[in-house]
Symmetry: C2
Subunit: 499 residues, 2 copies
């Protein structure tokens, strides 16, 4: 094969890979939105076979030879193809470093740990989960050793979710956050609180559904290629750029839960819907990184969605759908209520201001566990101590404490920091956006085309062509700087609470 | 490898095949129940890749050698394994006879034909569809020639859907039907018609949904393993015996459309839910044939579901959900109304009595097309002539005539007769069932466990272990006899219409 033929073979391989990714994403989506409960085992059987097929596709000798050839000649390739080769090469190298038995054993241990975590959470008994957590931690240490024998374990694990993320970057980031946010949250807690009584409902589910569709229309989400379904834990998943699924959850006594889930997931969705056609069958046809993806959902949810102009835009519809609940309430009242900041126990319910501190607790604990400074048995007490120190609240039980998240039970250590990083990216991107686009005017007109065009031009269309650092530099004209995030929060909440 | 190892390899192969079948069924299901409209192309891309993978699994040389070895030694295998080997061998032989290019070309032609059929149906213009239909017919003739060079073309095509089905069997079957049913339908049409005004609605969709769930409970469908969703054309699909999906369609001014769809699809579902665990990862773990499957849905829909005792059982719930519409209506009135027989234009809306004649029209036309006695351009006029002759009605346009069904556009020639055969099987099975189980008593008690147990024992559990002929013989103690069907219809409708 000459170089041209090799490139064609590479593209064919990616097309096949894309089909398998479609299929495994669809299995996950089906399990979350439709599957009858008794089908879990057969779903898992099929998922196992498909994972094995994806593994074989990546590590088979024929493809390995092709990829190595192309990797050596990568300077001769066009930019997109070179990036594809780099991504695939990295993935293949990593897969080959970890013995297949270890991968299978880890998947089994994660399934088991998840099962016992569910029981532990339900019965508020950490000891049921503890031995499985210990085993997973040992396995993840071993796994990091395979991938990166000379590297730091926790850095290696964070890299699984956000390439380039490490403690050298995250420590000062979280330090800065802590120094500013802990006192700010304290002042906010002592200030006069806004009225939120009208957000207590009940809100009829059918009317909430109408609000979801309205919000998607306001954001100009292309419903020909994107649909909304219900799940327990909202998420976005894409099968192709022309098939994006967003999900939400309806709660009768909480209007904002669904409302801001839809705005958040539509942010994720808009990203996927706007990736260049040229990347459609490429491994690069997806959001750049976990944190960059989160920056787009948070940008829409908090920076735009919780702004006064956006609240003014959507409030007439809210009032039309819930006239009794919104009797005597103004758009400004609504804006203040959806921005209430109050330390709480559960991360996923946290407001914009306190959210990062929830993540910080997890970051510190993970770091110390993988540094060997903290044992699993010490984890619950340390969790509670940090919640008191950072958020000023007492954790009443492990169910609402150390057992609240599914991440550790699924072996996802090093994932949490990308949430905070993503939110911090948003602040800097939002600043750059506002310098070029009149976002408030878009809210007033109810036309977000200029915002979407700017984001598409700067971020969306590129898919995974660039790293997170490159994208931030290209979009904002300078490297990532967490000061934007801290300044944004300080300014917004000082104004809201008249500090 | 010794024989034992070969058998293990065979079972592993089937497990993989089962996962791929799960995946391709899920793609189809997702396209029918969820997928956004703009995603059709990416769905089709993925489907193409997965079909190719299934093809490769079946025809790869390593598996071929294994299967040939096992086929030669099949007498030494246990019954189930021997049947698995036979099925796989047959499938492989068939696949190898047809050149892959031909399969791909046929799929493409079917996609195209389907597209133009939709336009033709929408615009009532048969000429848009005609050239594509002609091309498909030529391709199917060629296909039959590959599969069975010395056989009859139409017999070969029918065999694709129902093994063993042929004109020698179907001609006398349809002759007998025509002779009895055409005059019976005429007499029914001249008799006094029951009142059906209370079935005109409107019936609130939410209440109809409650009725669906109630009916599934009455039939004791295991909702832990089977769920109901909505589609344009109701169907049942199974991903495993623990993951069965049934679908329905809600129409506001038609109560019975959804009601009997749910009963019908629950019949299909109950079959899949009751197949032996031993067949779970086997190619035999599915309903025996298309017609046997249809016999089970029709048994529940018509023979049980449209009986007076069943109507008496469910009518209190109908009355509770629709008190205004059912004011002054008795269970007997309801029974008479859901059994109204009236020649109509559309097969899928046809009643129990006239249904088989709709199928007969298609059978005759298909037969003559593949015998070369009928051209595509003569098809519409001939369709209309037969509807007049058999059903006594005038076809006003091709949209409600020759263009009504999707089957031909999808290349499914020879499929229709299995619908009529399945319904005829039901009659004979129902007769055998009633000889051993007091079905009326089950309706009175609202407990169908004895019926399900009997059907499981005789049919469901066996999956594809036996042929249709063997199953009928085992269940009824004699070979298939269409007289049961004709007698049943004659007796039921003579009584209903006091003939």
């Amino acid at each position: 094969m000459n170089l041209e033929e090799k490139v064609i073979a590479l593209k064919e391989h990616q097309k096949k890979l894309k089909a398998y990714t479609h299929v495994s994403s669809l299995l996950f989506y089906d399990a979350s939105t439709s599957m009858p409960p008794g089908a879990a085992q057969s779903m898992s059987d099929t998922m196992g076979v498909i994972s094995g097929e994806i593994y074989s596709l990546t590590v088979n000798p024929e493809f390995k030879a092709l990829l190595n050839d192309l990797y050596e000649q990568r300077e001769a390739l066009d930019f997109q193809t070179r990036r594809e080769v780099e991504e695939l090469h990295l993935e293949q190298e990593k897969m080959e470093k970890v013995p297949k038995e270890e991968v299978v054993a880890m998947e089994e241990a994660e399934n088991l740990a998840n099962h016992y975590w569910e029981i532990a959470k339900k019965t508020n008994d950490f000891s049921i989960f503890a031995p499985h957590l210990e085993k997973l931690i040992e396995m993840k240490k071993r796994y990091a050793g395979y991938i990166n024998p000379d590297g730091d374990v926790y850095d290696t694990l964070m890299n699984e979710y956000e390439r380039g993320m490490n403690r050298a970057q995250m420590d000062p980031f979280f330090d800065a956050l802590r120094k500013k946010l802990v006192p700010l949250i304290k002042s906010v807690g002592e200030a006069k609180q806004p009225d939120t009584s009208f957000l207590a409902g009940p809100f009829a589910i059918d009317a909430q559904k109408a609000l979801s569709e309205y919000v998607m229309d306001v954001m100009d989400i292309d419903k020909d290629r994107c649909i909304l379904r219900e799940t327990e834990h909202p998420f976005t998943i894409e099968f192709s750029k022309n098939d994006v699924r967003i999900t939400t959850k309806y709660v009768e006594d909480d209007l904002t839960s669904n409302l801001y889930s839809v705005v958040h997931e539509s942010g994720h969705g808009m990203y996927e819907l706007s990736i260049d056609d040229a990347l459609q069958f490429s491994v690069l046809g997806a959001g750049a990184t976990t944190a960059i993806h989160e920056s787009q959902s948070r940008l829409w949810e908090n920076y735009i969605g919780r702004s006064l102009p956006f609240c003014k835009l959507i409030f007439p519809k809210v009032k039309e759908l819930f006239p009794d609940q919104m009797e005597g309430v103004s758009a400004e009242d609504f804006f203040r209520a959806v921005n209430v900041a109050k330390p709480s126990l559960i991360r996923t319910d946290a407001d914009e201001l306190t959210y990062a501190l929830h993540v910080m607790v997890r970051y510190e604990l993970e770091k110390r566990i993988f540094e060997g400074d903290l044992t699993v048995s010490e984890l619950p007490a340390e969790w509670n101590r940090l919640y008191k120190e950072y958020l000023g609240i007492d954790v009443p039980d492990d169910t609402r404490g150390v057992l609240q998240d599914a991440h550790w039970a699924g072996g996802a250590f090093g994932y949490f920091p990308s949430y905070a990083l993503g939110t911090a990216y948003s602040a800097q991107i939002y600043d750059a956006l506002r310098a070029e686009v009149d976002v408030d005017a878009c809210c007033e007109k109810g036309d977000f085309a200029p915002v979407r065009q700017w984001l598409t031009e700067k971020i969306y269309r590129h898919g995974m062509l660039y790293t997170a650092d490159e994208l931030i530099e290209m979009t904002c004209g300078k490297p990532f700087d967490p000061a934007y995030y801290v300044d944004y929060l300080e300014e917004k909440f000082s104004r809201l609470y008249h500090l």
